[in-house]
């Protein structure tokens, strides 16, 4: 774990962050610096606080101790207006897509273009078509989200998350609930977009295989602690028994 708390060049810096719900400590003194322009994967078993960590970074939840610095701003100390503005530089893929159920797929993808960037309708339409092709779903724009499969919904959510070419994109379990082939195709899509756009991607998952396929950096969360953090090859070669246990899928006793 890196102790050099405030590495300024990180897209996201966590500095001794502690977060509890009630008297249950979810994140326990976590520090790390997530670099920009790369894919960072945070691995960990279910319920260790991976989603919580992202919610702290985007300001949907607040920590009790420590600082979360995103794009140079201390998230917790921002006023609501500034926070909303900072968030316009993020994209996020939620665990179940969080697509707006009452509007079409095309309107979902066009939503941030229309409501945040206030682009004119023809420009929105053109960009939506482009994004639908990018995620491999041309022609589904007219459907409503409930007429899509799980994998298709994630692709659409992905298109919506990158519509404004944000500086950081957060992915909450992009491959959970998908068959191995569809998972692999989502991984390929993430890699392709990362290479093409050069954005900072933060991915949380418990899918070790997927982490291997997309990560530059890997972090290992376990029991609220960041047990390992660094370049993928280093972490994957770790000799720490807990880290090894998770990576080698040994049953957890």
């Amino acid at each position: 774990m890196s102790e050099s708390a405030a590495m300024p060049e990180g897209a996201i810096v966590l500095d001794h962050v502690t977060k509890s719900y009630g008297d249950r400590v979810i994140l326990d003194d976590v520090s790390c610096s997530i670099p920009s322009g790369q894919t960072t994967v945070l691995l960990g078993p279910s319920g260790t606080g991976k989603s919580t960590l992202i919610r702290l970074a985007v300001g949907l939840a607040a920590q009790e101790k420590g600082d979360v610095i995103v794009l140079g701003k201390n998230v917790q100390s921002l006023e609501r207006k500034e926070l909303l503005k900072l968030r316009q530089r993020f994209g996020m893929l939620f665990q179940d897509g969080a697509l707006f159920g009452s509007i079409s797929v095309a309107d979902n993808i066009g939503f941030p273009l229309k409501h945040v960037a206030k682009k004119p309708a023809p420009e929105v339409d053109a960009r939506v078509q482009e994004l639908l092709e990018l995620v491999g779903l041309p022609g589904v724009g007219g459907r409503t989200p409930d007429a899509l499969s799980g994998g298709q919904r994630k692709r659409v959510a992905l298109a919506r998350a990158i519509a404004l070419e944000p500086e950081i994109v957060f992915f909450d379990e992009p491959t959970s609930g998908l068959d191995p082939q569809t998972s692999a195709s989502i991984d390929a899509l993430i890699n392709e977009m990362q290479a093409r756009l050069g954005l900072s991607f933060v991915v949380i998952t418990h899918d070790v295989q997927s982490a291997g396929a997309i990560a530059h950096q890997v972090g290992m969360l376990f029991g609220g602690k960041l047990l390992a953090y660094g370049p993928k090859d280093e972490v994957f070669a770790s000799t720490d028994p807990t880290v090894r246990g998770f990576l080698d899928r040994e049953p957890n006793l």
Partner: protein
């Protein structure tokens, strides 16, 4: 904790906190709504409110007008004052019962719809998704719905008054055999134009309460799809209670002097 202190917490402290937190939500909604965000959405929500609530309002108000007339006539005819049942409907119906029923219909129909729609958006993280896009869900979702209720409920009150009077007149004349002319005269004599404008004003206030309570229950839903059902149910029950209490208070404020001196 002892059973007594637990009971105090559950029955006294929690409800008070709920009311306070709803009041805070209402204040925030008011501040945001005064900037009138997303007028297009307000119009869409308002038309939907009118289309879905008005049939309910009409059915309920017609029945209430008829029932009031039957009961009023039953007691008044003992002293030979059948046509005076028009006065009762004109006063009690138009001033109190019909507006209250209109608000109850809006709460049941539209309040439930708003709570379940926002609740579903909350538990499927759609509201979080808006937040992360940098869009204020309070402006986009809450304010237009509160406006729809504030604008739509007065209209429902007008419809409710009209239907209630029609119901009263038809039952009085066709069924109870009260003279058409004197029934109409008593109805019209007791309804003042001031009562009608008061009804519109009251409708706006009750509509605000319905909008705030329903969106708050939906907006703060927790606990998955079960939670959405719970929020919807609460929205209806709580907005009905709010509407009745507010209506009672308004009666004292507006008519208290007249009657109590």
């Amino acid at each position: 904790m002892s059973t007594v202190s637990l009971l105090v917490k559950e029955r006294l402290l929690d409800p008070v906190l709920e009311v306070l937190s709803t009041a805070l939500f209402g204040f925030r909604a008011l501040v945001v709504a005064l900037r009138f965000p997303y007028p297009g959405d307000v119009i869409a929500l308002l038309s939907r409110l009118l289309i879905t609530s008005i049939p309910v309002v009409m059915a309920v108000a017609f029945a209430a007008g008829a029932m009031l007339t039957v009961q009023a006539a039953a007691s008044l005819s003992l002293i030979g004052g059948g046509p005076f049942s028009g006065t009762i409907v004109g006063l009690g119906g138009v001033r109190e019962v019909f507006p209250l029923l209109a608000a109850a219909a809006v709460a049941a129909r539209t309040g439930a719809e708003f709570a379940s729609a926002l609740g579903a958006m909350r538990v499927s993280q759609q509201i979080d998704a808006l937040e992360v896009m940098g869009i204020d869900p309070f402006r986009l979702l809450v304010a237009p719905r509160v406006w729809a209720c504030v604008l739509g409920t007065p209209f429902c009150v007008v419809v409710s008054n009209t239907t209630g009077i029609v119901g009263s007149f038809l039952v009085g004349v066709l069924q109870l055999g009260i003279d058409r002319g004197s029934m109409w005269q008593h109805l019209m004599m007791s309804v003042h134009i001031g009562d009608l404008t008061t009804g519109v004003f009251k409708g706006a206030i009750l509509g605000f309460l319905i909008g705030v309570v329903a969106t708050r229950e939906g907006f703060e839903t927790t606990g998955g799809s079960k939670g959405v059902g719970r929020a919807t149910n609460r929205a209806v029950v709580r907005s009905m209670i709010a509407v009745c209490l507010a209506s009672l208070m308004l009666t004292y404020v507006i008519y208290g002097k007249q009657v109590l001196g």
